[in-house]
C-alpha cells in the first residue's frame, strides 16, 4: 500500500495567493468554518433521512443498508428541497440585508428624528 496522509492530501491548497473578500480575513476564516460545519450537519440530516426511510420501509438499519439506499423520485425531490430550504435558512441575514437595500429601508435613528420633528 502506498503510504499517504489522506487527510493532508484532502485538505491541500491550490497554488496561488488566496484572495480574501472581507475587510478582516478573520471573518472569512470563521465563515469558512461555519459553512463546513453547516455542510456536515446537512450530511448528518441526509443520513437521518435515510434511516427514517429505511425504518418506514421495514428495512433493518445497518451500515450496509444505509450505503445501499437509493432514494426514489419522490424521496430524491424531498431531499433536494430540504437542502434548498436549509441553505435559505442559514443565509437569512444576507438576504434580509439585501431586502432592506431593495426597499430603501430607513434607520430607526432617522425615523426618530423624522417623528420628533414638529
Amino acid at each position: 500500500m502506498t503510504q499517504i496522509d489522506v487527510n493532508a492530501l484532502a485538505n491541500a491548497k491550490a497554488k496561488g495567493k488566496r484572495p480574501y473578500f472581507f475587510d478582516d480575513p478573520a471573518v472569512e476564516r470563521v465563515l469558512a468554518i461555519t459553512m463546513a460545519v453547516a455542510g456536515e450537519l446537512a450530511v448528518t440530516r441526509e443520513r437521518l433521512d435515510t434511516v427514517e426511510r429505511l425504518l418506514e420501509a421495514g428495512t433493518s438499519v445497518t451500515k450496509a443498508n444505509i450505503e445501499a439506499y437509493r432514494p426514489d423520485d419522490d424521496a430524491a425531490r424531498e431531499r433536494q428541497e430540504w437542502h434548498a430550504e436549509y441553505i435559505n435558512r442559514i443565509l437569512r441575514i444576507v438576504h434580509q440585508e439585501l431586502e432592506g437595500l431593495q426597499n430603501d429601508d430607513v434607520s430607526p435613528e432617522q425615523l426618530a428624528d423624522d417623528m420628533a420633528a414638529s
Binding site: M1, T2, I4, V6, N7, L9, A10, N11, A12, K13, A14, K15, G16, R18, P19, Y20, F21, F22, D23, E28, L31, A32, M35, A36, A38, G39, E40, A42, V43, E46, R47, T50, I66, E67, Y69, R70, P71, D73, D74, A76, R77, R79, Q80, E81, H83, A84, I87, N88, L91, V94, H95, E97, L98, L101, Q102, D104
Partner: protein, 402 residues
C-alpha cells in the same frame, strides 16, 4: 420563478473507474451543489442590486463622474458587504468542493491506481512522453482552485488529481451539466451536425482534451473517424484513457504533448477541437497555437474552439466585471485578457481566410435528455422554460475552415 433544483448526486453516472462514493460523500456533494445553485440564482443577483443602488451612486458622488471601466467596478465593489459575502461564499464553496472530492479519492488511492493501471496496461492507444515540460501558464497557479492542477503526481502512475476532477465536476456545474459532465461535447456534436451536415471528418484531434470528457461524445458521433486526444498532463491522459476504455471507447488515442511539440505532419487532421482550453494558456501560446492548428489541418479541415466570448461594444461594465471574476478569484489568470481579444483577427493572423470564419453558440439538449430520470421529477427551469433560456446556457464557439 421557481428556484432550480439540481439533481441529486445519486443520479450521476457511476464513476467509470469504479470509484466508490459513499452515502455521506454524496450528501456532501448534494449540499455543495445546492449551495452553488443558491449562490448563483439567489445571492448573485443581489450583488447587481448593490452595484446599482449604492456602489455606482457612491462612486459618482465622490468622483463626480460615472465608473469608466471594469477595473474601477472591481475596485468599487470590493467594499460592498453583499458582494463580499457572495464572493467569499463562492470562493469557499469551490474550495469545499475540492476538499470533498479529494477526500473521496485519496481514501481509495491504491484501488483507483490499480484499476487505471489494469485498463491502461500495454495499450497502444495511450502514448505518454515523460520528457514533456509543464508550461508556466499551468505551473504558476492551480487553475480553478484545483489543488495540484492537472499534472501533479504523488506516486507512480498517479491518477488521483483527474479522479477528483471527474468525481466532483457535478458540484462545479451545480448539477447543470449532464450525468457524465459531458454537456460541452454533446453541444459541439449537435452544433456540427446541424451547421455542417455534410462534414465527414476522417481524423479528429481534441487539443487540451484533459480526461476526454468532451472528446468521447465526438468519438461516439463520428465512429468512423480516428480520434486523438492530446494533453500536456500525463495524469489526465492516464485517467482519461482508462475511463474511455472502461466506457468501451477502445480506439480513441490519448497522446501526451505540449502544444509546441505536437508531432504530427502538416495537414493531417480534418477537425481540430479545443474546448475551454485557450483561456488556461497565455497570449503567446494562443497566437502560436492557432497558427499550429492551421498548419495541422488538411485543406477543407475545420478548427472549432469553445471558449469565453469576447466583450463587445454592448457588454456592460457590470457584465465585464462579473465575467472577469474567475480571472482574479478562481485562478484563471488569462481569462480576463481573453475577453478583450478579437478572435476573427487572431484567426486571420493564423492563416484562416476571413470569409471562412464562423462563430455562434452551441447548445446541448439541456432537457429532457441529460438526467432523464430527474427531468421527469423536477422541471429545472420552472414554468418559463423556453428556447431563449436554453440559449443562455449555450457554449460560445469560434472557428474557421482551411
Amino acid at each position: 420563478m421557481s428556484t432550480p433544483l439540481p439533481p441529486p448526486y445519486d443520479r450521476t453516472a457511476p464513476n467509470a473507474l469504479g470509484a466508490e462514493v459513499r452515502h455521506d460523500e454524496k450528501a456532501r456533494f448534494d449540499f455543495l451543489a445546492n449551495l452553488n445553485v443558491h449562490l448563483g440564482s439567489k445571492l448573485f443577483p443581489g450583488t447587481k442590486t448593490a452595484f446599482e443602488k449604492r456602489v455606482a451612486p457612491a462612486f459618482k458622488k465622490t468622483k463626480g463622474r460615472d465608473l469608466a471601466n471594469r477595473v474601477e467596478v472591481r475596485d468599487a465593489m470590493k467594499g460592498d458587504p453583499v458582494y463580499q459575502f457572495w464572493a467569499a461564499l463562492r470562493r469557499n464553496t469551490m474550495e469545499m468542493r475540492q476538499q470533498a472530492g479529494r477526500s473521496v479519492v485519496y481514501r481509495q488511492f491504491d484501488k483507483l491506481t490499480e484499476r487505471a493501471r489494469a485498463l491502461n496496461d500495454a495499450k497502444p492507444t495511450l502514448k505518454l512522453d515523460p520528457t514533456t515540460k509543464i508550461p508556466r501558464y499551468l505551473a504558476a497557479v492551480d487553475n480553478h482552485c484545483m489543488p495540484g492542477s492537472y499534472y501533479t503526481e504523488i506516486a507512480p502512475d498517479d491518477i488521483s488529481g483527474p479522479a477528483n476532477y471527474d468525481i466532483g465536476i457535478f458540484v462545479t456545474g451545480a448539477g447543470a451539466s449532464s450525468a457524465r459532465g459531458d454537456s460541452g461535447g454533446r453541444a459541439i456534436v449537435k452544433f456540427v451536425r446541424e451547421s455542417f451536415p455534410d462534414f465527414k471528418p476522417k481524423r479528429i484531434m481534441d487539443l487540451g482534451a484533459g480526461i476526454g470528457t468532451n472528446t468521447l461524445p465526438i468519438a461516439e458521433a463520428f465512429p468512423d473517424a480516428e480520434v486523438v486526444a492530446v494533453d500536456v498532463a500525463a495524469a489526465m491522459l492516464r485517467y482519461g484513457h482508462a475511463r474511455a476504455q472502461a466506457m468501451g471507447f477502445n480506439k480513441v488515442q490519448f497522446i501526451q504533448a505540449a502544444l509546441e511539440d505536437l508531432d504530427f505532419a502538416p495537414g493531417s487532421f480534418d477537425w481540430i477541437q479545443t474546448t475551454m482550453f485557450w483561456h488556461e494558456t497565455s497570449m503567446p501560446t494562443l497566437m502560436s497555437g492557432l497558427k499550429r492548428v492551421y498548419e495541422l489541418l488538411a485543406p477543407g479541415g475545420m478548427s472549432l474552439n469553445v471558449e469565453q466570448p469576447n466583450f463587445t461594444a454592448t457588454t456592460t461594465l457590470w457584465d465585464q466585471f462579473t465575467k472577469d471574476w474567475d480571472a482574479w478569484y478562481n485562478n484563471e489568470p488569462f481569462w480576463s485578457k481573453l475577453h478583450t481579444l478579437d478572435y476573427p483577427k487572431l484567426m486571420a493572423a493564423s492563416g484562416f481566410a476571413k470569409d471562412k470564419l464562423f462563430d455562434g453558440y452551441a447548445n446541448s439538449d439541456v432537457e429532457p435528455g441529460f438526467y432523464p430520470d430527474w427531468a421527469k421529477v423536477y422541471d429545472r427551469h420552472g414554468p418559463e422554460k423556453s428556447v431563449e433560456k436554453a440559449q443562455k446556457r449555450g457554449w460560445y464557439l469560434f472557428g474557421g475552415w482551411k
